[in-house]
Chain length 210, copies 4
């Protein structure tokens, strides 16, 4: 029974943490980390300021909390891994679709933390390791393999992979900036990217011939 109670307690704690983080993401996304006040977050979460400090060590810790939650939410690793067997074009489309959806879902949380992440060295480090480097390494591995198999032309693998990742980072920034083309065309992004990245802009002879 004690075990069951502990379980319930843990669930309650987790629920309260999420309740606070949801509110935090909302407020941070709207006003930014520094202009958001703990009082405001408390109000948005429907709790008191004191309660926030029962679940998080500090205001800065809320950023960490959001980052962690984003990471948990993010199963790119597994999904990517699953698609690693596919042919490149399918793989990229699948990967792009996945990213595009993740960004849509995590927009608020990501927008909430990105400016702060770009500002604080520690967050930068942590964010880079969790979100950029891990994926970069997987992609590098995949591309390198495919290059060896002749499915992808020989390229500067690290930079090419960074360019791919950069597109999504950049598109996300475009969304924050309110670019209409990106916001309204978001669903088409995976295919457009697949064409761009996979086929290139240069028209192919056989296509011209065809």
């Amino acid at each position: 029974m004690s075990a069951a109670q502990d379980h319930i307690r843990e669930q309650l704690i987790e629920a309260r943490r999420n309740q606070i983080l949801d509110a935090t993401a909302k407020v941070f996304a709207e006003k930014g980390f520094h202009r958001a006040t703990t009082k405001e977050i408390a109000r948005a979460a429907g709790v008191s300021e004191g309660t926030i400090y029962n679940y998080f060590a500090s205001k800065a810790d809320l950023v960490v909390g959001i980052m962690t939650r984003l990471a948990e939410l993010d199963a790119l690793g597994e999904e990517l891994a699953g698609a690693l067997q596919s042919e490149p074009r399918e793989f990229f489309i699948a990967a792009f679709r996945h990213r595009v959806n993740r960004i849509r879902q995590g927009q608020e949380m990501l927008q909430a933390i990105l400016p702060e992440v770009l500002t604080s060295p520690e967050l930068r480090e942590s964010f880079y390791r969790q979100y950029v480097l891990r994926i970069a390494e997987m992609l590098e591995q995949y591309v390198r393999t495919r290059v060896e198999l002749g499915d992808i032309r020989p390229v500067n693998v690290p930079l090419t992979v960074r360019a791919l990742q950069s597109i999504f980072v950049g598109l996300f920034v475009m969304r924050i900036l309110g670019d209409e083309a990106v916001l309204s065309g978001w669903d088409d992004v995976p295919e457009v990217l697949a064409t761009l990245i996979f086929d290139g802009l240069c028209p192919r002879p056989e296509e011209v011939a065809g």
Copy 2:
């Protein structure tokens, strides 16, 4: 004589403004807008706090000042315009080189303001119009023309252009995040991107044949 004096005075004012903005960019890039104090900026600029306020209306105005200076520095418009006659491959390489150099030069200033730009609606709007939209429109125009000429395959022009811009935004973020591959491979970025964007990842039959 009064005219000459005015001229000198204006130059002094401009020099002082730049002196302050240089220091500001340094401090903002290091600590971020909010953690940077006016006292710190003053010290870095070698002036008193009061002097800052003789040249800028507020701390926030320093961000605007940096943004304006970036825009003045930025002659992409003209350079792009000059390359608009070139064949696509040359055009893109030239454009990429240009961007890559601008980012290297403006890194500090850009890093100083980006997080704040992402946070403040007004700055966002202003930044988007000055740095994103203007260039997007020029690129769209170019790409559209080339598509009509058959030099570029038919693509979703707005999104493709956003994707191109996004790459640089994203790569810049990667630099802030300290990604080694991007930082150390920066000089190779234009060519890698040209290959990626123009030729695509998919190996071409004739190349395979060759």
Copy 3:
């Protein structure tokens, strides 16, 4: 219970506000609005600077707070109303006594805000309406009635009433200026004024005769 708690809470808030306003009046009266610092007020009130701002929106709001409190304290309206039936001489003596006492009691608060009231257009307006105009209108009404009844000789009612009010304003300023005659003779003021105002300085024939 919630209602009871609310009641207690409100009382606590009111008590804290008064505690702060008392200290504020003291410090303002001594140093004036601008030379008084919030730190000093906080110390005098035995709270922290932050606490002041939990109860008042700004330093300027403290002036408003004092003014409001003065107005609440001030029941001249009712007392005047009560005396409105009396014969003029009794009425004036009663009214003068009342004013004289109010000034003595409210000296600190009044001295605290008067210079600022004379300076700020908004406060001026507000002060004038609460303290001057309301009473002027009541007095005018009374005097006009008594003139009609023949109990008061025909006079320029508005100006006469202003003159009466002015005496108290002026005497209060005299107190601030430290005039010994006014300070030490304060208790005699009502009677002296009654004689002055009601009988005039000119000796009366019958009195001379008597």
Copy 4:
């Protein structure tokens, strides 16, 4: 010649001082001592900030300058002295007229300094001696004499004199407060006051009889 030059120089200095004090009075009257900035005064005077400090030791010294100028302007002493021989009623009317005119002329300067005078102990002292006490003593002397002669009924001389002075102080405050009755009826004040003060409000038997 050197003497003549000195004379011219002195006149220039005096003119410049007055130019500055005029502007100061205007700005102080409008914004109050503390909210007025030296920059603003300089602009209003058509000189630079530095120039102000060539003629006055400090911002506070400008108040002293205005007070001194008011005192020079003010020849009440002499005029009062001249009227001291008159019968009471004529004397008071003359004195009241004089005061009323002085206030109208000196309104701006007086309004400029009064709030500050009420606030600063030193100014208070100085103001009290120059403007209040001197006149009070003269009035006391006059009234006392007239009482002895039987021209004025026996009264509490010091308080009566203070009350008389207070009326003008109070009326001046009323003007600052923007009271319409006082502002628009200003020309009638001397007569109204003469009636009020000299004859009193109480109707006289013989008048009733008449």
